[in-house]
Amino acid sequence: MIAVLDSNVAIGLAKGECLEHIRTLFLRVVIPPAVRREVIEEAHGRVGGRELEAAVGVWIHETAPAGIGDGAAIPGVSTEDRQVLALAAELGAVVLSDDAVLRREADRLGISALGVVEIVLLLKYQGILPAIKPILDLMQARTYCIDPTIYAQALEIASERH
């Protein structure tokens, strides 16, 4: 399975020190050029920039979509959002994004989308992470804010204490 990595999840997973783990889940991980720019070139020393830079060309591949379609029909969505969606559609990939609007559009297009919370659950299911709570707490301590309801729900699913 191929995954298209969006900027927010790249930054969130890097803050949780588990970006590298997603290479064990997917046969191929790709980013559109916009994600490289947003996460690496505009990092200015923030967490995520260096981690993604180290991965691009090694196990994350930068690919531009062939086209992004007519974005005028999608209110509240940027050209860069359309790049992420178009790439996922072209590759038959899952989108890794926490953006609610992008996830809604992905769902409308029949594209699966996972955010950081679902990804860490998946990493636990696969035996790659022993627990999700330390990871989610680390993300939040490093200013990647997670809704308390889904945080609690995820801990319950993972049979971990709040």
């Binding site: 930054i11 609610a100 609007v101 679902e118 998946l122 889904i150």
Partner: protein, 91 residues
């Protein structure tokens, strides 16, 4: 994206006070649209003139979550099924 709004402010404000109020109102409007799922995080960041990293930091400062519900349990189950069938990838 262009958002135009008019707000009424008390008279006799200093210019810096007026500017601060306008900036706060603009940010509140954009963050509300983001919170309500009307615009994506990228559109919000661009409208505020922030980089994506800076926008995520700002969300944390105001207590707005990036990752929010509901959990995509159906997508998770589907991806889990795919991942389980794949040969293991070595790190």
């Amino acid at each position: 994206m262009h958002l135009n709004m008019t707000i009424e402010l008390p008279e006799n404000l200093h210019e810096d006070q007026r500017q601060a109020a306008m900036k706060a109102a603009q940010e509140a409007a954009i963050l509300t649209l983001f919170r309500d799922g009307a615009i994506s995080s990228r559109v919000a960041a661009q409208a505020l003139g922030l980089t994506y990293h800076a926008f995520l930091d700002r969300l944390a400062e105001v207590g707005l979550p990036v990752a929010r519900g509901p959990l995509a349990m159906r997508a998770l189950a589907s991806v889990r099924q795919h991942v389980s069938r794949q040969p293991p990838t070595r790190v």
